[in-house]
Amino acid sequence: MIQLSNTQERSLENKELYKISKYSYNEAFLESTLQMAGSNQSQIMEKMNKNSKYIKNQRIAMKVIMSIYLGIMILVPIQSLRLVSLSIGEVSLDLLLLASSGMIAAFFLMQMFYLLMFGLFTSTGFFTPESYKWLTTLPIENRSVSKIGLFTLFRSLNAQTIIMMLLFPIATFIMSLNIFITLIALVVSIINTGLALSILIIFGAKFTKVINSNVGNNRGSTLIRIGVIIGYLIGTLLATMGVQVVTPLMESMLASTDLSSAAIITLNQWLSLVPFTLSGGYLASMLFLGFTNFSTIQIGSAILGMIIQLLVVYWLGKKAIATFTQAISPDDSSKNDGKTITSTVEDVQISTLGQMSAFFKKDAQNITRDVQSLMFVLLPIILPTLVFFITSVPFLAGEEAKDTFGIYILTISYLFMGAFMLMLGIIDIDKTGASVSASLPIVIREQAKAKILWAVIILPIANLLPTLFYIGKPYFLEILVTFLIIIPMGIIFAVFVLELKVLFFGKMKYKYVLDEVKIEHKVLKIILMVIIGLVITIGFLILTGVMMSDYSMGMTYLVLGCTELVLGIGVYYLFNKMFPKTDYKF
């Protein structure tokens, strides 16, 4: 056995470790990219072969996109503080403090949700030992490897962290031109950023563990995985959308409130004790509005809230480092959860299905375990459901959307977008099995039918789920019937997307295949597909709009139904041409 001597196992300086982390950063980013690519991993590898800077470019692009997304948010505190400035003298200072602190707290929450939304999926590779394994083969102490891991994570989030820290102080400086207030804003922002990062690390490590828990492959763990992904999607989208309505809500609160001034003062004192993110918001707002205008109790409770937050950040930060160190440790025994399955001869049993059912079952099994494929199936349902939820709830929408025409425009747009996304995602699933499918006697018609079955199941759910929010409203029946009438159009569009994709990418001399065999001019082809999809969507929107504004609903339904019939016959004819019935008997 080879053993390293003490002199060989070097204790490296932080500076050296930071330099080394450049390599593990590259490795971890690649790992994340591959994990997120799901069934498209081979394509990523192909792109890397063609362009050695592909991953570097992706890395820079990801940082730039995230920085822009976070950077744009500077408008939120600027708008909030501008609103507060304009309202000075118009309403009481205590009400102004409540509104201002609420808006600033909402801004910090938004920052955190944006970081979670964009940072989590792109950083899964940073929370696995895979990216750091090779370091353990070098004469470096385990403690140093952990430090390299932390430096690696910092490299991945450095630009975003700096932007998050600076946005609020910059906005404060622009609106107050006061260095002292800006410095306090910077301190508040640093503490909040520290908290957001700690949450990202803890959540990211747990999330990665759930996503990668492949060993324990049973129904329970699959359900947990799906639950976590759905929860994450709904949670972050809802939170992001929800938080965005805080500003208009505060505006309307400033315009009219029934609360007595004593009640507002008490509310302020209690709320300013809430560490994340209200106390920081209160402290900054009081400075902005003038410290001397507020009672000692009010100032004291905000400072106390900040001290509590500082302790929470310290505790969470330590927990985040410990969680991270454990997550990247190669000998983390908790990773397999002791659920390793070992089969015996008795477990071997083959049961067969028809080709279409076999493809559908295989796709379903794949979807429940592959994050990207699962997103393609869930997003067409979650996106319209959330949007309709927001627009149908008066509290969130500001004003209830009673305009049924607007609702139809929205549902048609989401239905077509969902159909497009779903079909492209579902067709791509087969890529990971290229070796197997290459030699299988696949009847392409059956394979294509299995893909269409997904549209038949998912699109009606996606289109009907939002109608639940209108139950009890006078126009519910009209909405339900209209939503039902347009579902076939979504399915027809999905079939057309499949045909279009195959025509562009899968046309061979004697047959059409679902695999991408004609990959030349790929970007151009995809742009063309999107344009064709948009033209069809806009065409259907115009038809629906004209019919609804000029004719009765009965006539609209009749015309839409006839249009669907004609287009349905068209795509069916094309389907039969591209994927003829085979008379080959096995």
Binding site: T342, D347, I350, K362, S435, A438, P441, Y510, T582
Partner: protein
């Protein structure tokens, strides 16, 4: 076609005739011809990037040839794809075998697509899994398996339906010694049954150990073909060529570069030792 030619073609499981495939300017396969007889293991031997995998993909109908013809089991792979694939098995170099499935789910899927009798195939599958020490991974996700275990699963998937022709691209990559022995035995049984094998590899020793006849492919062209005895005779006629490995290196234009590399390597190692 004369009767004699027809008779010969009947014995030929694979006939590749002046096949050409180019990607833009690059000729990946450049006018290659060979055949594989019933009960024969034919090796396609060449360095990385020589055109082996492209040739295999053309035979499977995954790519369209620019020129030439392929006949496998009397069928055209482009026109009779489904019928042909019921009779062939394929092991690829890179085991892309639905990483999100377990072997159990994968075999159920394969048996369904091939319309195999579930009851009949169950015993055979259990035997293959047991022989290759893969039974314990039967219900684990393929993505969690090692390269070698993925390869075992891929090999079983290719032979489960008793194909007439096996097309194998570097099938022994990643396998342990015991599994290599078992796979060789499986190939032997396949040949005894009257099957044939196209065995693509870039390692001379493996080809010599397994194949009856080989074609050496380089830069898309077949530069030599025959039995090992025939190739040894070629070696005798070549200057400075000692064995089959030298023949291979010479025919694939790698002999000079290998000599150069070895010389530089020795010089570097010796100078470091000296200092």
């Amino acid at each position: 076609m004369s009767n004699a030619e027809k008779m010969e073609n009947m014995e030929n499981m694979v006939v590749v005739d002046h096949l050409v495939k180019h990607f833009d300017e690059v000729k990946a396969v450049d006018d290659i011809s060979f055949n594989i007889k019933k009960g024969e293991i034919f090796g396609l031997l060449g360095p990385n990037g020589a055109g082996k995998t492209t040739a295999v993909k053309l035979m499977l109908g995954l790519l369209e040839a620019n020129q030439g013809n392929i006949t496998i089991l009397g069928l055209d792979p482009e026109k009779n794809e489904v019928e042909l694939k019921t009779r062939i098995g394929y092991v690829s170099e890179e085991p892309l075998i639905y990483k999100s499935l377990t072997p159990k789910e994968l075999f159920n899927f394969i048996a369904s697509i091939r319309r195999l009798d579930g009851e009949k195939v169950t015993g055979k599958l259990a035997q293959y899994l047991e022989s290759l020490d893969a039974i314990e991974y039967y219900e684990r996700l393929i993505s969690t398996l090692s390269r070698g275990n993925k390869q075992k699963i891929q090999i079983i998937a290719a032979i489960l339906h008793d194909p007439d022709l096996l097309i194998m691209d570097e099938p022994l990559a990643g396998l342990d010694a015991k599994s290599v022995k078992v796979v060789k035995e499986i190939l032997e049984l396949h040949i005894e049954r009257g099957g044939s094998v196209l065995f693509s590899t870039h390692i001379m020793e493996i080809a010599e150990d397994i194949c009856d006849r080989i074609g050496i492919i380089n830069k898309g062209k077949i530069v030599a073909m025959g039995t090992f005895e025939e190739l040894r005779l070629v070696a005798k006629d070549m200057d400075g060529v000692m064995d089959l490995e030298d023949v291979f290196l010479k025919l694939t234009d790698q002999d000079e570069s290998v000599k150069d590399i070895i010389s530089k390597l020795r010089s570097t190692m010796n100078s470091h030792r000296g200092s």
